[in-house]
Assembly symmetry: C2
Homo-oligomer: 297 residues x 2
C-alpha cells in the first residue's frame, strides 16, 4: 500500500491543529511547513502572502507531495487562488471546508465566526458562508492566539477573555445564530473552554476538523474508494525517494496489514526549539523530525 | 531658533511611548518610522533585524535628522552596534538608558526586568545592568503587548495577568529587588496597573522616560547648553528643506519666544489606519501626518 503524501502549509504552529485532525482520520505521509520567521501573515499584503505561500508550495512540492493543504486562514483568505494557480498538485484551503460544515450543521442559517483581526477584515468567511445561504456575524478575538501560545488553554484568564468576546459577539449577532465557527487554527485548543461558555443549543465547527474531512473526501474521490485502502498515484511518484529511511513517528497498530509506516516531517523557517515546544502543546506529543529551512526574504 | 530633528525608529507602535516622553521634554521636529509590515522583530535573526533597521535608518537620514533613537528593544538588543556603524548621525538605543536609570534608582542593587520573550532571551538588559553592578532577574510577559494593543490597559483581565506574571517574577527574583524595569516600549501604558500591584517599596523605571532623558542629555552635550535654548547644527543642515510647509502638530504655547513650530511626521510600512488607531491610544491624541512607505522585503 502506497500512502498519500500530504503537504501542510501554515505561517506558524496553528496549522498543527489541522495536521492533528487529518492524522487522526487519514493515514498518510505528512510534510508540515511552518513559516515561523515571517509570521504573522495577518498584517501583510495579499501579494506578499502569496509570494511567501508560493515559495513554501515549491518547497513542499519538492518533497513529492500529492496534495497541499493551506492550513492558514490568512493565506487561504488572501492568496488561495494565486496558490492554486501556481501549484502542480490539488490545493485545499481552510475557509471553504469550515463554511460548508457550518452550512450542514446550522438549522437557523445564522452563525457567529470568531477569528483574528486579519481574517475578520478579509470577510472571507462571511462571503463563503453567504454562498451557502448563511448569515454570519464575524468577531475578531486578538487575545486568543497569544493566550493559546502562552499555554493558558485551561486558565481562568482565558475563560474570562472568551466570555467577554463571546458576550460581545452574541450581543450583536443575529439572536438565532446556532453555530460558532472557529475560524482560526489556534482555537480548537480552546474548544473545551468555549463549550463551557456557549449556550447549550450552539454548536462548534472548527476549521481543523472540517478541513480534515474535506481532504479525506478529496482523496476518496481521487482514488474512487476510501483513502485508507487506496493507492494514490501522482505525476511525481516516479521520482520519489524512499521515505522509510527517514521514518520516525507513528507506525500503524501492530497486527494491521503489512504497510508503509506513515511519517511526519516538519520544516520551519525560524527556531526549531521554539517550534518543538509549541508543537508539543498543539499535538499533545513531542515531535522530532523538525528541520530549519531558509527560503530567503 | 532651529529645532533639532530627531528620528525615531521602532518595529511598530511601541516606540510611541518613547516619542511621547521625548516630546514632553524636548522641543524638536520628530520623524517616526514604524516598520509595521515586518513586525514583530522578536522572532527574527540579528542579521535580518539589522538589515531592516538600517533600511529605516537610511530613510530617516533622508529626512535630515540630527539624531536617531532606536525605540525598539529587540532592534537595540540585537543590532545596535551594526546600526551605529551604518548611521551617519548619533544613535541612542533604549537598553542602556534604562539600565543606567535603574542603577541610579536602586539602593538594593537588585532589579526585576519585565519584557517580551525575545528581549529576555537576548539578556541585553541583564548584561547592561551587570555592567552597572546590578543583579537582575528577567521575566518574559508575552501577553502584555497584546493586552495593550487590544486597549485593555485599565482592565481587570490585564490586572489579573500582571499579578500572575509579577507574582512569578517576585517568587524567583532576589528578595531585595527594589526596582521594576519596564523593558518593553508598550509597558509604560500599564504603569498605573503595575503600581497598584507592586509592593510600595518597589520603584518603576521605564525605557521611554529614561531614553528621553538620555536624548536630552546628549543634545545638551552636543550644544553645550539646554536643547530648549540650543541651536543644533549638523552636516545635513545645509541641505534641509523647510519643514514648516508640512507642519501640523503642536505649536509652542502662545506668548513664548518666536520660534519654529515643532512638527511630527509618521511613516509606516503597513496600514495607515491601523497605525492611527493604535497611535491615538499610545499618544493620547489623534495623529494626522501618517504616510505609508514601502522599503521592500
Amino acid at each position: 500500500m502506497m500512502l498519500p503524501r500530504i503537504g501542510v502549509f501554515d505561517s506558524g504552529v496553528g496549522g498543527l491543529t489541522v495536521l492533528k485532525a487529518m492524522a487522526e482520520q487519514i493515514p498518510a505521509h505528512y510534510f508540515y511547513f511552518g513559516d515561523t520567521a515571517r509570521l504573522p501573515y495577518g498584517t501583510k499584503s495579499a501579494e506578499t502572502v502569496a509570494r511567501y505561500a508560493i515559495g513554501a508550495t515549491r518547497f513542499l512540492e519538492a518533497q513529492n507531495i500529492d496534495l497541499l493543504v493551506i492550513a492558514c486562514n490568512t493565506a487561504t483568505a488572501l492568496a488561495l487562488p494565486l496558490i492554486k494557480e501556481a501549484a502542480h498538485v490539488p490545493v485545499v484551503g481552510v475557509v471553504e471546508p469550515g463554511a460548508a460544515m457550518a452550512a450542514e450543521v446550522s438549522t437557523q442559517r445564522a452563525v457567529i465566526v470568531i477569528a483574528t483581526e486579519a481574517t475578520v477584515s478579509s470577510h472571507a468567511y462571511r462571503d463563503a458562508l453567504q454562498r451557502h445561504g448563511l448569515e454570519a456575524y464575524e468577531k475578531a478575538c486578538p487575545l486568543l492566539v497569544p493566550l493559546v501560545e502562552e499555554g493558558w488553554t485551561e486558565h481562568p484568564v482565558t475563560e474570562q477573555v472568551a466570555r467577554i468576546y463571546l458576550g460581545e459577539a452574541m450581543a450583536q449577532a443575529p439572536g438565532h445564530a446556532d453555530v460558532l465557527v472557529l475560524a482560526c487554527t489556534h482555537y480548537p485548543l480552546l474548544a473545551p473552554t468555549l463549550h463551557r461558555i456557549l449556550p447549550v443549543q450552539m454548536q462548534i465547527v472548527d476549521s481543523a476538523e472540517s478541513t480534515a474531512r474535506a481532504v479525506r473526501q478529496m482523496l476518496r474521490e481521487k482514488s474512487g474508494c476510501h483513502p485508507e485502502r487506496s493507492e494514490v498515484t501522482s505525476a511525481t511518484e516516479r521520482s520519489r525517494k524512499p521515505a522509510l529511511s527517514l521514518s520516525k513517528g507513528n507506525p500503524l497498530p501492530e497486527g494491521g496489514p503489512p504497510s508503509e509506516h506513515r511519517t511526519f516531517r516538519f520544516y520551519v523557517t525560524d527556531s526549531v526549539d521554539k517550534f518543538k515546544r509549541l508543537a508539543a502543546r498543539f499535538l499533545g506529543r513531542q515531535v522530532d523530525n523538525v528541520e530549519h529551512v531558509d527560503l530567503g526574504g
